[in-house]
Amino acid sequence: MFGSLTRGCAALVIAAVMALPAAAATQLTGAGSSFDYPFFSKAFYVYSQKNPDVTVNYQSIGSGGGIAQFTAKNVDFGATDVPMNAQELQRAGQPVLQIPVALGGAAIAYNLPGVSATIKLTRQTLADIYLGKITKWNDPQIARANHGVKLPDTAIVVVHRSDGSGTSYIFTDFLSHVSGEWKSRVGVGKSVSWPAPSAVGAKGNEGVAGQIRSTPGAIGYVELAYVVENHMPAVTLQNSAGKWVACSEATVAAAAADKPHVSPTDFSIVDAPGANSYPVAGFSWVVVYKKPADSGRARMLYDVLSWLVSSAGQENAKSLDYVPLPRSIQASALSTLKQMQH
């Protein structure tokens, strides 16, 4: 009887001792965008190596779920590919700060056997392809931009994301900027009704990339990292300054730098005016309450996020083929974050 009691006590003490280091670290929680997930998991890991008293648990459940969890106050912060709109902010019930944390670009990958030159497309041509008005690779509109390239008579297969995604939002935002017809017929969204008769939907970046690779004549938009890592050919787009630009870290960063004061109500950086700016780019956002209930956690959250948007945090984005935020955006993100009360 006494023996078992002693054993029980000993077990309790051991459990308590083992639990001590874990209890010392505070766990902050976040949820939302899957676009941010690889970046966040790396960055937060690096952060807690340096600051053992804080760990950040991020759940990649999608932007919609992230906003819902944030509004329900189940998490310390949410992450979303499109800032919360007026209605969502109202539902949150108290002032919310929205901070750009990551920058991404959508490359237009394609599969055209027998053509080794990089295909060039004007913005209007790309819109017409996605509207289903251009259906063959040797269409005069495409030929005009590609002098000297022998274009085959292959049918174009338009590939898009079938899952709701921030990348689709950025891409449809771009098409709406360059084509009035797209804007009125289709519009902007994470999921839209794709008008091209040859449109095929694939799940995730990996699905779109796979679909393009296995379908001759296919064209589709994928995050920059996928094109870089899979060595897929991607089109050179003409930007609004009339220059031909490929999707790269430099050209996406240039697009972001064109607009140093990005805000949650004016956040679109597609079709940027700079000569070196790639036209299909956008931010991902973190949302926090201006005045979180627990001031101790608020302080930690502020520290984590201000590190995340600094050059030290953004370095982790670079190593994963995200585009680091340009300095001007880092500064504006930090000044928004400073409004947090802790």
Partner: protein
């Protein structure tokens, strides 16, 4: 001396019995509670959509989240057609394999083969999906599709451009996924047919083939039918593998080569990023429709089993 001992044993056993009965009844009741609860939850969740679109949700075919216009018809069509292709292929192959395993194969082949077939059932669906996307879809585009089009292109079913992904590819993937279920259960059902029947048939001079097709299969048909219904249930609800090979286009096309969409795929694709209340609710209503479709299919199958039994009696 004996009697009290019996009584003691009876008294000692009865609480265990009672406990066992409670567990059994409780377990069965849990199913009923789950199904009813699921239905209520789906109806509540889809209420905003039910109110906004009414019954027209079922026969409208626009799916435009930007304009908040939703209709489920293309997805209902895609779900039913892919499952139908799947059960058509899987039941044929599965029943043949089951006959072979139960009646024809020598033991040293039947045992490892049965094991392999059951192993197929344990392959995760995302693996089927990836295989479908990278192997089957290109195969359909370059070989299977053109051959079918050459032979049967005059019917609308096999006309039009071949993308690789589409109704046919999704149907084939689903067939692969449900064939282990159909085979394993059919084999057990066939194996359970009394030896006497086979021996009687052989004694009358039938060949092995005649015995299998005219005696054993008819005797096992109710059980085999049940196996197919189980397979069909899986096909209707299968999500990830189908999403990867169906092309995800909410459109109704007569051609089996055309991209399509299923109820489960839309939910998997769009639920995480759906933000407006009506949009989420429309997705939940798709779940409700899938639930109802499954019930209807199962009910029809049950009726067919009853009618088969009735005609035999």
């Amino acid at each position: 001396m004996d009697e009290p001992a019996f009584r003691r044993i009876a008294r000692f056993v009865s609480p265990v019995d009672r406990g066992f009965a409670a567990v059994v009844y409780g377990g069965s009741a849990l199913f009923a509670v789950l199904i009813v609860g699921l239905f209520i939850e789906l109806v509540l969740g889809s209420w905003p959509s039910l109110r906004a679109f009414g019954p027209s949700f079922i026969w409208k075919s626009a799916w435009d989240p930007v304009a908040s216009k939703f209709g489920a018809l293309p997805m209902i069509y895609g779900t039913v057609v892919t499952s139908f292709i799947a059960i058509l292929l899987a039941s044929f192959v599965g029943i043949m394999a089951a006959v072979f395993l139960a009646d024809f194969a020598p033991r040293w082949i039947a045992a490892p083969l049965s094991f392999l077939i059951e192993l197929l059932a344990a392959v995760p669906s995302v693996v089927y999906g990836l295989w479908g996307l990278f192997v089957l879809a290109p195969l359909v585009r370059t070989t299977i599709g053109p051959v079918l089009q050459h032979l049967l292109g005059w019917t609308p079913l096999f006309a039009g451009p071949i993308y690789g992904v589409g109704l046919l590819t999704a149907g084939i993937i689903l067939a692969l996924m449900i064939v282990p279920t159909v085979t394993a259960i059919s084999r057990d059902v066939i194996a359970a047919i009394p030896r006497d029947l086979r021996e009687a048939s052989m004694a009358l001079g039938s060949t092995k083939w005649e015995t299998a097709t005219r005696v054993v299969l008819p005797a096992a048909r109710v059980g085999i039918f049940g196996a197919c219904v189980l397979g069909l249930g899986r096909a209707l609800g299968e999500t990830i593998a189908v999403t990867m090979v169906i092309g995800n286009r909410p459109e109704i096309s007569a051609s089996l080569f055309a991209p399509s969409y299923t109820l489960a795929s839309v939910i998997a694709n769009e639920f995480t990023e759906a933000t407006s209340a009506v949009y989420i609710s429309a997705l939940i209503e798709l779940g409700l429709i899938l639930f109802v479709v499954s019930i209807v299919v199962n009910a029809v199958a049950r009726l067919m089993i009853w009618s088969v039994r009735g005609s035999r009696a």
